[in-house]
Symmetry: C2
Subunit: 345 residues, 2 copies
DNA sequence: CTGAAAGCGCTAACAA
DNA sequence: TTGTTAGCGCTTTCAG
């Protein structure tokens, strides 16, 4: 085991002294810039390695006026973070590309307060803490797509494909395709009264799913009037299901697995068997989904891929490169919560 | 709306010029240090406000050799991040105390690779990116409790109460109490053959729960031989349940809700009704738990509180203050997946 | 090819 | 009470 540096970490001066060269030479040698002999470069690199030296990010940041970090601000109740498997996967995807880049992720979780959220971005920029930012959970009234360009901060938004974010490029989540696939699947099974439980209407990714349902229903010549909002919570999903059940749908599409799970419970309490009396589909493919009773038919996104794409796009933007990556299509995972409807009800 | 700073953010020199004083005076004025007149201080502050100026974190970092950031490295498969509601809540708690402190959270997700994990901490330290770190998911063979002190990095570990982490202070999760409560609850209902499905034995918080179950069983005069490992996954929980069911327990305690959910499905497929034929308890109180059928009896931790406590402790350590905060006790949430066992089986 | 020196934005220890 | 100055650790000139 190499001797870990205790106390003050080594500086470039230490490396220079031990290698018997000047600080400038060390810099050139380690950044693979011309101006030093191969012999010197080798020796310098070896000493640096041996000292376990890495340039101070702050010194570099001052010179290049770069922070070597990107930011992600989340305006959510911390307790609500857990309900969303998308976020965790997204983080993982982001990290997978950041890891090789020398940049680091700065995360802030502020409450559900749009002003705090904006202030958080402002502070990160003014303190020069980040070189770019991710925009998640885009709302209909959202100041961020205007704010970040005004701050001169490169940014990438994540939201439904086709979403308009002004000058901020968007990594499009094709969740509409997922909803359409769910509708198609149910129609094929013979369903015609297919209800929809929306998430929280303030969010773009909520209304976009509702719109996709409407559009798909109409495309199949079905009326799109059976819908209600469940706000992405278990409580909300249960309540929406209770209201919807009175109008006797044969299937319900939920905008999240959590709401679908709550819906299944409500249906069962009402004496309905899933899928015999009611077909149910979810959205997200939570880890639980495959292990429920019955296993939940749901739409699987690939949040890890989305995160990776978003990070690529942001890095490209920061470096002034061009890039327009594609985001993967969602996938309908057919399990046992959907079936042919009973012929008569 | 104030004019957002576009292009180069203002520096202390701009503030000084506009206020008609020297840079030094600005620094004193804004840090509320003596050495400037009230009159000057007021004017400087006003100009700074107007310019929307904040000191560059990097310049400050160089002088004080502080990064004004703390780190969290997670060695997990990104896809596995989502299975753990504890993590999300923890993050929220950490942020809630960081928000007021001027420090920021740097997050890294590396794969399940202990060496990458250690390198990640090393790099963060050598680049002076962080002033302290959180240690999560402590394993039995874990190099971090030795590494971080050796690196001179303040750290706080989160794990089962009583866990030994050498020189790294521990925020104790009293999950053992939660397991004991579950055992107590089941015993009170009349169960005697109570099985346990462990998580992943490599983790301290996994074996500590197993130990707690063993201890509680013995304290009630029951034998503690019905247990198996489910590795915190749905698949694993299902497999463990299948094996355990052959030995006819009347109740199973799971070390996570996800495993419990999978276990309920397996039981049902085996023709067992929960809770009539088999009582089941989980751990974590996932958002889904209350909305399952039947609603899941489970142990609720308060990850937000744990995160807040850990952050307080870390900040105190960084500032050289003393602090030994308490972490909250877990709570058994009794729902409908537990009941009196059938008199005969 | 190498070394010395300037300077990034700030704070702290100085003189004035 | 002020203004000036010397660095923090690094990169990037510019001379040698």
């Amino acid at each position: 085991m190499s001797p870990e540096t205790l106390g003050t970490p080594p500086t470039i001066a230490d490396v220079a002294r031990l290698a018997g060269v000047s600080k400038g030479a060390v810099s050139l040698a380690l950044n693979d810039k011309p101006g030093v002999s191969e012999e010197t470069r080798r020796r310098v690199k070896q000493v640096a390695e041996q000292l376990n030296w890495r340039p101070s990010i702050h010194a570099r940041a001052m010179l290049r006026s770069r922070a070597f970090a990107v930011g992600l601000v989340l305006a959510r109740d911390p307790r609500q973070l857990a309900v969303d498997p998308f976020f965790a996967g997204f983080l993982g995807g982001v990290e997978s590309v950041l890891n090789g880049s020398g940049l680091v992720l700065v995360l802030q979780v502020v409450g559900e307060d749009a002003d705090k959220e904006a202030d958080s971005y402002r502070r990160l920029v003014r303190e020069r803490r980040i070189d770019g930012a991710f925009l998640l959970d885009i709302r209909h009234e959202d100041q961020r797509p205007a704010l970040l360009p005004a701050l001169g901060l490169p940014a990438v938004a994540v939201g439904p494909a086709g979403m308009d974010c002004g000058r901020v490029p968007v990594v499009g989540i094709r969740d509409g395709d997922g909803i359409a696939a769910a509708v198609g699947h149910l129609v094929e099974l013979g369903h015609r009264k297919i209800a929809f439980v929306e998430g929280a209407p303030a969010y773009r990714h909520s209304t976009s799913r509702l719109d996709a349902w409407r559009q798909a229903m109409r495309a199949h010549g079905l009326s799109a009037d059976l819908h209600d909002a469940g706000h992405f919570t278990g409580q909300g999903g249960a309540a929406a299901t209770r209201r919807l059940l009175r109008r006797r749908p044969t299937a319900i599409i939920y905008a999240s697995d959590l709401m679908a799970i709550a819906g299944v419970s409500v249906a069962r309490e009402a004496g309905l068997d899933v899928p015999r009396d009611l077909s149910v589909t979810g959205f997200d493919d939570n880890p639980e989904a495959a292990h429920l009773h019955p296993p939940l038919t749901t739409v699987r996104q690939d949040p890890v891929a989305v995160g990776a794409v978003a990070a690529e796009l942001l890095l490209a933007q920061i470096d002034g490169r061009q890039a327009t990556p594609e985001s993967p299509a969602p996938q309908l995972i057919v399990r046992a919560s959907t079936a042919t409807p009973l012929p008569m009800r």
